[in-house]
Structure formats: C-alpha cells, structure tokens
Amino acid sequence: MFGELIRQKSFGVSVAIFIMLLLAPSFLPRFYIYLMAVIFVTALLAMSLNLCVGHGMLFQFHHGVFYGVGAYTAGLLLVKTSLPWWIALIAGPLAAAFAGLLIGMFCIRLNRLYFGMLQISLGSLIWAIAFRWYDLTGGDDGIHGIPVPDFIASTTGSYFFVLIVTVICLLLMFLILKSPFGSTLQAIRDNPERCAAVGINVRHHQLITIVIATFFGGVAGILFVVVEGSIFPDLLFWTLSLEIFIMCLLGGWFTFAGPILGAAIIVSLRTFVGTYTEYWTLILGVILILLIFFLPEGIMGTNYRQLFRSRVKYNGEYQTE
C-alpha cells in the first residue's frame, strides 16, 4: 500500500521538507510559525478542494462552506457544551462530510455550471443561517476565544498539531488518489461517457469524492479553530471559496501538490502585501488575470520547456473531452 508512496520521485524531497518543518519552530520567530500554521490549514483546504476540481472535474464552487461547517461545529461544541475536546474535533469533519453528502446529493444530478451554481445557492443558505442566528453563532461577529486544550493552545503546540494532522491527511489523499477508486475518478474526469459505458456508476463515484473532499475540508476547518481560536461567517462566504479555487489553479490543478504551493503563495502574499495596502483583493484579481492569460495550468502544471522553447503561443487547451 505504501510502496507506491516510496517509489515516488519526490518522496525524498517530501521527507526532507517534513523534517525541516518539524525543526522549524526551534529557529523561526513566532510570527512565522503562526503564518506557516495558517498556510498548512489553507493548503489542506485547497488540497481537499482539488480532489473535486482537479481530479474529479467537479465544479465545487462553494467548498468554503464545508470548511466553515467543520469550524463552526467544532467551535460551537467547544464553547457551548462540556464535551471533551476530541469529540468536538472529530465532530467537525463528520459534520462537514454530512453537509457535503446532503448538498452533494442535490448537486450531483446536474452538470458542470449548474452543479456549481446550485452549490453556491445551497452553501449560501448555510451561510445565511450562520450569519443570522445570533443566539447560537454570534451572527456576523462570530465567536472568539474558543477554548482549545492546553497542549495545542500555544503557537508552537498548534503548529505541530496542524502540521501532523495536515501531513496525515495529505498521505491519506495521496493513497486515495493512487487507489483503484482514485484511478476510476480520474478516468471519469477524462471521459465520463466511456466510463459510464463500461459500467462505472459515475454519479456514485463523484458523490463519494465530494464526501471525501468535504471531510478533509472539515478537517481544515477544525485546524482553523485550533490556530485562530475563533469562528466567523466569512469562513462560509463564497468569496473565500473562490479564493481557494484560485489557489488550486495557481499551484497547478492537475498536479498533486500544486494546491499546497498555491495556498502558500496566496497566504504569504496576503499577509505581506496586506501590511502595505488595504487593496489586497485588487492585487489578487490582477494575479488571477495574469494566471489565466499566461499559466492556465498553474505553476507546477505548466510544461516550461515546451512553453519557452517552441515559442508557440500557449493556448491552454485541456485534453479533457
């Protein structure tokens, strides 16, 4: 099962990066540790979205909702109940996966754009509830200062927790994608008609993908609670969802690790550019336009040799149909 993993060309590099990250808190200042934890959370979120978008060709336009549902479930359980913390952290992803199943069952009957639009609608319903239900969710203020257990309350503690959970989730995603299920999924992406013709239940596979992706989205949600200690309705808002979409695209949505790179770039840019100017979304928009025009397959997905050598204008056609 793990043989596939070790045979990967980038396996050594990945292990080296992981060890570096484990050692990072001993020499990096606190702020960078916090920033890296945020990057891991966002990277996990982007990776979970990419299961749907890059590997399944499902236009999951409102993935942020599941992130928010995970965060809200964990946060509310921690604040409003006296249940042990680990129940809250397990309930978050499960609630997100349940929401994913529910919304997915509605959306899966539709194709492409309709799928995305319906998902935005249903997600906005959840956002509206979180936004308006002041008594439970604190409305647009959200809830701050959520009590997390001591060992993950400090910056370093939460860093290690987030790092380890993220790495476990990434391993799981990798194994899922390399499994027969993952291969089937990518076959569906490349030619749904043929897959249906050879007897694969396309909708069924896509629904399972959505549930898996939303589960990992929920994991990212609980990690957000651990890092930030707060929840607010912007987590469920659709602009965040599209921002995650950009991360997948920026890193390379037909590659495995692309979304991690995309998340790292966007989060760092937002943090550093945000200190100079309040017009961060303007810059994000410009980045997106540049990306669409020049690197439509993302930083890791582009074949640079072909791009620079042949001098032929790269037209960004995909071989998906």
Binding site: Y114, M117, L125, L284, G285, I289, I292, P296, N315, G316
Partner: protein, 298 residues
Amino acid sequence: MEGGAGITLAALSSTFLVGLSRAMILFIVTSGLSFVLGVLRVPNVAHGSLYMIGAFAAYSISTLFGGGSLGFWLALIFAPLVVALISLIAERTLFCHLYQREHLMLLLFTFALMLILGDLTKIVWGADYRSIMPPPVLQGSVSVFGSPFPKYNLFLLIIGPLVAVGLWLFSTKTKIGKIARAAAVDMEMVGAIGINVSWVFAFAFVLGCLLAGLGGALVSPTISVTIGMDHNIIIEAFLIVTIGGLGNMWGALIGSLIFGITQSFGVLLWPQFAIIFPYLAVVIILTLKPTGMLKAVW
C-alpha cells in the same frame, strides 16, 4: 393592532407590493446576468460589482447636478452608460481574448474582474455610506389598502415591466437581438454564416452589464449605497437565474418575483431569518425541478 392580529390585510398588501418592487430591481439586474449567460454561457461574477458601480455612479452624477430632480433623471440615464463603458473596455481589452478557452477560465476572469472592480470602487468612492433622494415627484407615499406605500416603489413597479417588454421586443424583433438569440443556441452556426461572433459576444456582455448598471441606479434611492452590496446581489441573481432556467429571460422574471415576494413575506413573518425564506424557496424549486422552472437556452 398588537400580537397575533398584527398581520392585517393592509400589512399583507403592502408587504406584497414591497416584495413586488424589490422583485423589479432583481429582475432588471438578473435579466442582464441571464442575457450574458445565455449568449456567452458564462455566469458573470462581476455583474454584482457593475451593479454597485451603477449605484455609485448614480450617486456621483446626481450630486454633480445638485441632487435635485434633474440630477436624478440624468443619473438614471448616464450611470448605466458609465457601467456599459467600463464593461466594454474590460471586454475588448481582456475578455475577448479568452473566448477560445475552457469555460472555467472565462468564469475565473469575471471573478478577477469582480475583485478588481470591488477595490477600484473602494478607491474611487471610499467606504462611506451614500444615499440619494428620489426626485420630488417620486417622494412621499400613496395609500394602498389603507397603508402608506412609497411612490418610488410604485415607479419601480412601472419601470420593471417596461424593461421586460423592451428586452422582449429587442430580442425578438430586432436583427441584433435575433442574432444574439441564435448565438445562444448555436454559436458555431452563427459564425459559419459570416457573423462576427466576437462582436456579438461583446454586445451581449455590454448589454447585460448595462442592465446591471440600470438596476444599480434604480436601487440607489431605496438603500444606502456602500461597498459590499455587490456580494449580496450577485448571489441572489445567481439563485434567480438558476431557478428560472439559465439564460431564459422570463425565467429571470418569475425567479425574481418568487425571490422578492418570499423575501418581503419573510420580513413580515420572521424578521430575523427573513433572508432564509428565498433560499428555501430556491431549494424547494430545485429539488422538484433541478434545471429551473423554464427551459434553459442551452
């Protein structure tokens, strides 16, 4: 009239009319979105931003002319044109180079446009709340079933059907309207008989954005104009287009009516969760009929 007897006939009728006038604004904005969606097959995420710019432009134009009656009418004419100009520039410089690409790229481009326009609006007009007065003719209210109803909303109830009829006449009686409808059904065929498809797309995009600007200009006297109004309207417009049937103008009208009226009755019944009612209506409709109530054009 307290407690359970609070919902009277007067309240019901005025709620209905408020919902109806809200639906007219929604229809004007949504019909533009639907038109773009029908011809270009791209949900224009920047549509809400153009609506917001329409409202801000209406504010600036009407203040420029002293905020009186003249200013208002000029704003109503020129604010949509400003928006149309912005969309024409965006379309001709950037968007038109993407038509050969995957649809997702077009969608993401409109999202990028939304991000950029949102911040540009903030740079130009700032984050303050603005409001403009309707002209003296439309100020005050009239009595409908014994409850006061703003004259301006009555004005909206007249404008909405006018736009609907105008759009219908345009798309069925004029040549360019027919070409646009044909392009919505089979774009390759339209190109094959020698029509410049790129300009048809440009035209459809600009007309759609013009309607967004008109909606923004019309709504500006009824709400406070501010940053962030783009995010709300675009979601509502998406939902309306989805339940109506993608690209179908009459679907947009029916969807807007459902949305506006459920929203205003929601305010009457359960103010805190009024926002939920239209969404619930959407969920119910899409459960029963996943592709919207009327036939989508594609």
